[in-house]
């Protein structure tokens, strides 16, 4: 059958198409088209009325021009005219033009609707078919308004021809999709359901599509379709391959209809009626069995059609998620496909397994394929298949294999296609966080991510690592050390500079004791990257610098010099300039205590959905990820306490602090830490985003803490400490080298402490926990200082609420200023009524002189020079004492650092000895201190020597430190 003989050839059209094809250049083509457009325009506008054939020919030419990619802005009227022609051939072209080119010109739609109405009423099935096609093609709201009531009638009328029924079903489906509100439910719905029993498989096929969509929105109304669909499916899968005649496709009986019926069943839970359910299970088993049978044809069409049904059956099995036997069979089947030679099947198997991985019945079975999937990641030549492998690894990941999977993904990331890098980065970041047992692993993983694929690490990822480090104090030191090391690389990614800048700004002090990462070295390292960075990163670094001013007063002038330089103060960028000006000013005028408050460590972030997860959802479309995540969440809840690690809670478990206890001390946010500023919505970087507000945000509580006139200094009564407190020296010793822990506990009350000190200032949070279920009344904690102590130590606090509910905890903040050196400790006296009896508790508050130590690093030569300078006999105090604890050098080192002085390595010629140096800050004076501890292992003795510029200080420090070993 040569093409030209088909239908009525339009010679003019064929000539025009040939002309276009013969054009040698784009310009020639456009020229030819413009000529034709001018011709058609003049014909349409001409005085002579065109006959139907000419109209059809010109409309067809316009259509061709449009399909070449040119805009067509006329001819619509002529096309509408063709609709009302009696000649099928003209009508058909008119409808085609409308279908392809219609716009929302309502004037035109009204005319089109008129033509459609006539054709629908014509009772000529061919014309009705054209009209229905046109409605389905345009599917506009105006059309739905005009025909949504009419079409259901055509669909269920007894005398409608099968082919029209098919068109009517799909036409209604289209209208329902665009304007569901305009399609009224009614009597027709039950009759539509019964079309599933129709003899004509074409009608059943079209009706099943319609019913599936309707059932998704109105499951109750279409519930009866379940049993009908099951019996239809059953008849199909058990039929011999020739029974269905033309609906058998390459020996597969009605594959399209089978797939559609299986889709319809996925709108519902497993059938309740045991007979229906049994029949469905049989169907699914038959489909699974057929997959194992030898193929009836070698043609790919045969296996494709067969497997299309199989994959849809597996989708239904996964959707029901109720038959472990079927799930495991499905998983095995997919496992076979994972190694199939057909790329298409490997792709689909990986895709299906992703959903299978979220079922509790098959999760373990899926996991057994991990090696195959990892291999696919390494060997598949097609990026879209590798992408599926990444998805599946992500889906099958749990605590048992997280380290392996994350390592493999990182490996793959090195060579991954650019198109999927960002997604892999997000996935690695999520898995590393979700399944981190050891947060140092998490920090390493994220830094690796930045190293390997820094460009693809989105803001969300590095925000998140900072959130986690800030919320988990057990990883802060490690994070600081690791970023410091990573920053040493000559060319490190800007994202690393951001993370490094932020973390060192917060926790650089934790590694400042090591001379290799002294404050100045940290600063110089960061600043060496400054000029290579973009403006936002520079802005962040400036904030780090001002935080350094607070953390490391010794490099304040260096930083001020940098801020003062023209390149900062006169920077062309407003943001940078403003920060430089404000930070410089802040560092100059603010007193140390104000600085300490303004630049305080960031408070923990409130827990919320990981921003990375949100991003992945956005990227992948909400449906796909959400479902997976939701199911996974349920499954993993028992493994890791929820999908999202909740750092605040989790640290109660994993913080090695011996003070972990019922109050959860050291884990709760510091009470004075203002809640994250409201404006910082969800992202920490908001803090840095507005320089003007940055200062106030960083110092949310400064007003209250320092300027408030109603400070309860009147509470400080002078009184002799009670006897009970005197015996409690032991307790105080516990706190000499640490700042947090439980101070006191009996059956009623627990008192916990969390404190921080900076130079001559400090702040202590006292947590009073009511261990009973009864209220404490008239609860009054009082701080008692002797006259002498009061002149040396300034304590300010506010009264707490006089009632403490059962099981509740109240907090009290004590602001501390050291005026001069002191030896006594203040006493905390608590009085309250518990169930009618009066309770009185006194305990020494462990505020000791060494808390006001600032460590000082110095070289061996300097140390001994100063040591000699302090050779005045009053300046030296020595104590020789017996060891009370095992003489472990590592513990000793930790204690000396905890004591507050710097631990100086390689200073003492005898490596067994320990030497330290620091400065005691008081308001009136700064007292340099040197110490030396010489252990004698044989004798189990120590000799401790303190040399300071003040006798009393030497004395007191020696007493305090001697008790520690």
């Amino acid at each position: 059958m040569p093409a030209v003989s088909k239908g009525d050839g339009m010679r003019g059209l064929a000539v025009f198409i040939s002309d276009i094809r013969n054009c040698k250049s784009k310009e020639a083509e456009i020229k030819r088209i413009n000529k034709e457009l001018a011709n058609i325009r003049s014909k349409f506008k001409g005085d002579k009325a065109l006959d139907g054939y000419s109209k059809k020919k010109y409309v067809c030419k316009l259509l061709f021009i449009f399909l070449l990619g040119h805009d067509i802005d006329f001819g619509h009227m002529e096309a509408v005219n063709l609709l009302s022609s009696n000649r099928y051939t003209e009508k058909q072209i008119g409808y085609l033009f409308i279908s392809v080119l219609v716009n929302s010109n309502s004037e035109l739609i009204r005319l089109i609707n008129n033509a459609i109405k006539n054709d629908l009423a014509s009772r000529n099935p061919t014309f009705m078919g054209l009209a229905l096609h046109c409605i389905a093609n345009v599917g506009s709201r105006e059309m739905a308004e005009a025909f949504a009531g009419e079409i259901p009638k055509i669909l269920v009328a007894g005398d409608t021809m099968d082919s029209v029924k098919q068109s009517a079903a799909l036409c209604l489906l289209r209208l329902y999709r665009t304007s569901p509100d305009l399609v009224p439910m009614g009597d027709w719905t039950s009759r539509v359901v019964h079309l599933l029993n129709d003899q004509h498989l074409g009608v059943v096929t079209a009706a099943t599509s319609l019913i599936t969509t309707l059932a998704q929105k109105n499951p109750e109304e279409f519930k009866t379709s379940v049993s009908l669909a099951v019996s239809r499916l059953s008849r199909i899968v058990t039929s011999a391959s020739t029974d269905l005649q033309d609906y058998t496709y390459y020996f597969v009986p009605a594959p399209w209809l089978s797939v559609k019926l299986l889709r319809l069943l996925q709108c519902y839970p497993p059938p309740e009626d045991p007979a229906v359910r049994g029949r469905l299970t049989e169907c699914l088993e038959t489909i699974l069995n057929k997959a194992q049978e030898p193929p009836k044809s070698k043609k790919v069409q045969h296996s494709n059609a067969k497997n299309a049904v199989l994959f849809e059956a597996i989708s239904l099995i996964i959707h029901h998620d109720s038959e472990p036997n079927l799930l495991v069979r499905a998983c095995n089947q997919l496992g076979q496909f994972l190694q199939h030679r057909e790329t298409n099947l490997r792709y689909l198997a990986l895709e299906s397994m992703c959903t299978l991985a979220s079922s509790e019945f098959s999760h373990e079975a899926v996991k057994t394929h991990i090696e195959t999937v990892i291999n696919a990641l390494k060997t598949e030549r097609d990026v879209s298949v590798r992408q599926r492998a990444v998805d599946l690894l992500y889906a099958m990941c749990d605590r048992s294999n997280a380290q392996q999977i994350v390592a493999e993904m990182l490996n793959y990331l090195e060579t991954a296609d650019y198109s999927i890098r960002e997604e892999i980065v997000l996935k690695v970041a999520i898995l590393a966080e979700k399944y981190a047992v050891d947060y140092t692993w998490y920090v390493d993983t994220i830094l690796n991510l930045i190293r390997i694929a820094g460009d693809y690490v989105s803001e969300e990822v590095w925000y998140r690592v900072i959130q986690i480090v800030i919320n988990r104090d057990d990883v802060q030191g490690y994070a600081a050390k690791t970023v410091f090391e990573a920053l040493q690389a000559p060319a490190c990614h800007e994202n690393l500079v951001k993370v490094g800048g932020y973390i060192l700004g917060e926790f650089g002090n934790l590694i400042a004791g090591d001379p290799r990462s002294s404050p100045l070295i940290q600063f110089n390292l960061l600043h060496s990257k400054f000029h290579l960075c973009s403006v936002p990163t520079r802005a962040l670094l400036l904030s780090t610098y001002i935080k350094f001013v607070n953390l490391f007063p010794e490099i304040k002038t260096t930083i001020q010099d940098v801020l003062r330089s023209d390149s900062q103060l006169k920077n062309a960028d407003v943001e940078l300039q403003q920060r430089a000006v404000e930070y410089l000013r802040l560092s100059t005028i603010a007193s140390t205590d104000i600085l300490a408050t303004v630049l305080e460590e960031m408070p923990p972030f409130p827990e919320r959905e990981s921003s990375i997860l949100a991003k992945l959802k956005k990227k992948k479309g909400p449906s796909t990820v959400t479902d997976l995540e939701e199911t996974k969440k349920e499954r993993s809840a028992d493994m890791n306490g929820g999908t999202e690690p909740a750092p605040v809670n989790a640290s109660a478990v994993s913080t090695p602090s011996p003070s972990a206890d019922l109050l959860g001390l050291g884990t709760g946010p510091p009470p004075n830490a203002a809640p994250a500023p409201a404006s910082s919505g969800s992202l920490l970087v908001d803090v840095f985003s507005e320089p003007a507000s940055a200062v106030t945000q960083l110092a949310p509580g400064s007003q209250e803490n320092f300027a408030s006139p109603d400070l309860a200094s009147s509470e400080l009564v002078s009184e002799e400490p009670s006897e009970a407190a005197r015996g409690a020296d032991e307790l105080t010793h516990k706190f000499v080298c640490k700042n947090n822990g439980v101070l006191f506990e009996n059956q009623l009350l627990q008192i916990g402490l969390k404190s921080e000190f900076r130079q001559n200032l400090g702040r202590m949070f006292i947590f009073y926990g009511n261990k009973t279920s009864t209220q404490f009344l008239t609860f009054t904690p009082t701080l008692i200082c002797s006259d002498e102590l009061q002149s040396n130590l300034n304590l300010q606090t506010k009264p707490v609420d006089p009632t403490v509910d059962g099981g509740a905890q109240v907090q009290q903040v004590v602001n501390i200023e050291c005026i001069s050196d002191f030896t006594e400790a203040p006493v905390l006296n608590i009085q309250f009524r518990y169930g009618g009896t009066f309770q009185n508790v006194s305990v020494k508050l462990p505020i000791t002189l060494n808390k006001f130590f600032q460590p000082t690093e110095m070289a061996s030569q300097d140390f001994f020079q100063r040591w000699k300078q302090l050779s005045n006999p009053q300046q030296e105090v020595q104590n020789i004492f017996k060891a009370k604890h095992p003489m472990d050098p590592e513990i000793t080192k930790a204690k000396i650092i905890g004591f507050g002085s710097a631990l100086l390595e390689e200073v003492d010629p005898n490596p067994a000895n320990f030497v330290g140096a620091g400065i005691i800050h008081t308001r009136t004076a700064q007292i340099g201190c040197l110490l030396r501890l010489e252990p004698n292992l044989q004798a189990q003795m120590y000799r401790l020597t303190l040399r300071t510029s003040k006798e009393t200080v030497s004395q007191r420090l020696c007493e305090l430190l001697s008790e520690q070993f």
Binding site: T89, N304, T343, N344, R381, S623
Partner: protein, 151 residues
């Protein structure tokens, strides 16, 4: 539901486009350009499916012509691949050893056949006989019309 179907040549010439969801002309052109680029860049042995935007793309090459369908997340890829094949079979049967030129010169026929097969993005009838019968009936009507026209 299928969102759209494209036929384009190895050289990136669009031969047929069918959209089952309303969309602006500009957006359509952008999607066609983008998707053609993606598909044409793929090598012969690669798999027939890929994720693209929020859709799944199923494509197959027949001689010089690519047949490319975009379907939704829940849709079945393999059955869509066979849908393409069935459409090719229909064209082949109608034109007799169909080639790209047949589709260029008789593009309206290619549309009519597709419309008999798919409607609103769903299969209307999968029987080769039914679809071809419908087309042949229409052709007969055309012949009648032509004769009347001549008379």
């Amino acid at each position: 539901m299928m969102r759209f179907m494209l036929l384009f040549s190895r050289q990136g010439k669009l031969r047929l486009q069918k959209w089952y969801l309303a969309m602006s002309d500009k957006e359509r052109k952008k999607m066609v350009r983008e998707l053609m680029q993606v598909v044409l860049a793929r090598k012969p042995k690669m798999c027939s499916f890929l994720e693209w935007r929020d859709l799944k793309v199923v494509y197959k090459r027949y001689a010089s012509l690519y047949f490319c369908c975009a379907i939704e997340g829940q849709d079945n890829e393999l059955i869509t691949l066979e849908l393409i094949h069935r459409y090719v079979e229909l064209l082949d049967k109608y034109f007799g050893s169909v080639c790209e030129l047949d589709i260029i010169f008789n593009f309206e026929k290619a549309y009519f056949i597709l419309d008999e097969f798919l409607m609103g993005g769903d299969v209307q009838d999968t029987s080769k006989k039914s679809v071809l019968k419908a087309i042949e009936q229409a052709d007969l009507l055309q012949e009648d019309g032509k004769e009347r026209n001549v008379q």
